[in-house]
Subunit: 451 residues, 2 copies
């Protein structure tokens, strides 16, 4: 093992292709179904919503897909992203294991979301799109897409969940700084928004409602498309640049992970780091564990049901085969806003079902405890989402120490927490609630979301 704590790649070493795990999956995912007819749908059904190139990627079974030169050039603003060995944190907990992390917060958006925002804005621009609509919760995805759209001269309209819009003014202002228009959702701009507001003028909004609003605007105009920041296959494809780089960096460190860990919301940052390593397991027989860490208050992977469900509350999206808590489920208001989503992406769901990846659930307070330890030792204040990956890594190190073995642990530090500092304030004040969803609550949530 090298002694250095930072493992860099040169720009020349940056991978030029995304990796598509569909090519190596023993069982391919079941097809999406039409929301009304319940019949399998083809790619053409998505043409009103996404540009063709992204639809092609959504259904592609090619193992590798070339990253366009213009996207590579923009990736070079902040990529290759560094991989660090957490030497100071290892010392602090006195572990015999080696803990590495890939840091994806060192870019204009502060999270891994930039990797797909740049690609999506690029493909939309190529197809002459003038305007994009999207939704955002905590705002990481919204900020990522804001700069990318501005760069390509595309207007961006962001529906931001109303409760976040008021609680997280920093992220909203960052989107404004990048020239996006941000509207609190539910809004009066759309039929879906107005319908909600008629029933409940004080509705705090939800990701599901915001998705419906954004899609409603997009389908009305051929030069407007909709963009999603997680869950879908093409989004996950773009994030594999993370794991593709990490593979090379682990090689440079002369080490190899026994376990790769990511926090889990819709699946994009976990899949981004894990899938290239999973390829080594599926295609080359490498012995490696992949662990997704989700909130105990939103446990779709560990307690949810594998079934066809909608991606949004209003039922406008195709039905997808996924682990879900039901599309009507409203998760507790934990600070990891990016992990508050009812379902898991199709690829991760199938791979979990087939036993190729693992999942575990963690409580919020323990994750923040890990986050503060990490900040004090490694000098990066993690996003609340990323603290779940940290807590997962600490679990693995402690388990190995109890077993008297030394493991190599790699996790994805998906973003920084500069705009989430009030969550840390609550933690320090002892005002951070813990909530674990019970099996009964899960059953009730799923029963409440019949399709």
């Amino acid at each position: 093992m090298k002694k250095t704590s930072k493992i860099l790649l040169s720009e020349k070493e940056m991978p030029r292709q995304w990796y598509n795990i569909m090519a190596d999956m023993p069982n391919k995912p079941m097809p999406p179904l039409h929301p009304a007819t319940r019949e399998p749908i083809g790619p053409e059904a998505l043409a009103a919503v996404f540009p063709m190139e992204l639809i092609k990627q959504e259904v592609s079974t090619e193992r590798y897909i070339d990253i366009p030169d213009e996207v590579i050039d923009l990736y070079k603003m902040y990529r290759p992203a560094p991989l660090f060995r957490a030497i100071n944190m290892e010392k602090a907990i006195g572990t015999k294991s080696r803990i590495y992390y890939k840091y994806e917060g060192g870019n204009y958006s502060g999270s891994h979301k930039a990797n797909t925002a740049i690609a999506q804005a690029y493909y939309n621009k190529q197809e002459g799109i003038k305007r994009i609509t999207t939704e955002t919760g905590a705002g990481q995805w919204g900020s990522a897409l804001s700069w990318a759209c501005h760069h390509f001269g595309i207007e961006l309209l962001v529906f931001m969940v109303k409760v976040s819009y008021h609680q997280k003014p920093g992220r909203k202002l960052l989107m404004n700084s990048y020239n996006a228009r941000v509207v609190p959702s539910p809004s009066t701009m759309t039929e879906s928004g107005r319908r909600i507001l008629e029933k409940d003028p004080d509705s705090p909004g939800s990701l599901g409602i915001a998705i419906s609003e954004a899609m409603e605007i997009a389908v009305q105009d051929p030069y407007t498309k909709y963009s999603l920041g997680s869950v879908l296959n093409h989004v996950i494809l773009h994030q594999t640049i993370i794991g593709q780089e990490a593979l090379l960096q682990m090689e440079k460190a002369d080490d190899y992970p026994d376990v790769v860990i990511g926090c889990f919301g819709g699946g994009s940052n976990f899949s981004g780091i894990a899938f290239p390593f999973l390829r080594e397991k599926l295609a080359n027989g490498k012995n490696i564990r992949l662990v997704a860490v989700e909130p105990a208050s939103c446990p779709k992977l560990t307690k949810g049901k594998f079934m066809y469900d909608f991606g949004d509350s209003a039922g406008m999206t195709p039905l997808l085969p996924m682990y879900t808590l039901g599309h009507n489920f409203i998760p507790e208001k934990i600070h990891a806003g990016g992990l508050r989503y009812h379902g898991a992406g199709v690829l991760v769901s199938q791979l979990l079902k087939d036993g190729f990846i693992e999942a575990k659930a963690k409580m919020q307070r323990e994750c923040f405890e890990g986050g503060v330890l990490f900040a004090r030792t490694e000098g990066i204040l993690p996003a609340p989402e990323s603290t779940y990956a940290i807590a997962g890594a600490l679990d693995e190190a402690r388990k190995a120490d109890i077993e008297g073995v030394s493991k190599t642990i790699l996790f994805n530090l998906s973003g920084h927490g500069h705009f989430d500092i009030s969550a840390y304030e609550k933690y320090f004040e002892g005002n951070l609630p813990d909530h674990e969803m019970t099996a009964t609550e899960v059953d009730a949530a799923i029963a409440n979301s019949e399709i």
Copy 2:
């Protein structure tokens, strides 16, 4: 010129020495004077406040000073720092000039302050110091020193100007996350604080008061020292790593700056980038301009008086020969908190007096306009302080275009603005006041600060 927009150095290429401009100054600065006797003082007079190694650096005339291995190792967490060519911003303004920037915000503190915080904490630790006190305004310095002290097992007590403590909770919480104790100043912990509070229980505090409080605590205990984040020679020495790297990076870019620009508060980030280039001018006859950009509301360099003055309001520091607006001057509450200081460091003051560097003053709104342009094109939301350097660079590019020439412009982007987003909100709302200090106001301020 290379086509790439990012110019990196490998860890091996990172300079191993700081540069001390004292060695190359044609006129050395006049000596500091004892605050009471007005006689020149020697280094021993500072022994109650600073560790010996820093005092030696404060008065050293050696051209180069080795960076200790342990400091190098910590620098490697985030150094070498990247140098970018601002290709997108160049395009946006249609200039024929090439604009480069060195980015110092990509570390745990979010600004260049980490470069000296790590060094100062290290030297204090070497001399057995258990506790450090300091002051902070906007909080960049306080956050930088917090992590560094925690890393070396030193307790840190930060006196934070009360108005900032309440207005900028993000920075205060970042310091807490890094395990520092933060006290709003004036406080009841010190004689100086209590004296102020007796007169005015609602005092908003000032940097001068906070310095007095921090120094008062430090001198009471031999294991407690005081630490300052700008102005002094040893602080500026540590920051020269910025310019030392930038010199190598400009060489890699196959280009050379006609002008080097930094924003100006006490002088540490400007000097950090400018002094290594100034060495090339003083020692090797290179034709290059060095421009410090200060706020029009705190114009010590462009309108202040060169004279002996105190570093703090209470008159506890030695008297230093500097450009100043008077130590009792309270600047307007502009958002660039780091530039709200009445005086300029001794080295910069002498060099400005001797005509080796230039200074200019800018208004707040124009700087934010430049900051937003920069964020939208280059993808980094700049600290309010750094927007002054951006505005200075834009001035140079526009001037060159009017003259029909192409210049190479380099500026220091000293930090990011993630914790200053409310300042951008005010800018977007049109609520950012402009203030230019008149010659009469300057005269009055200086008259109000007789020594």
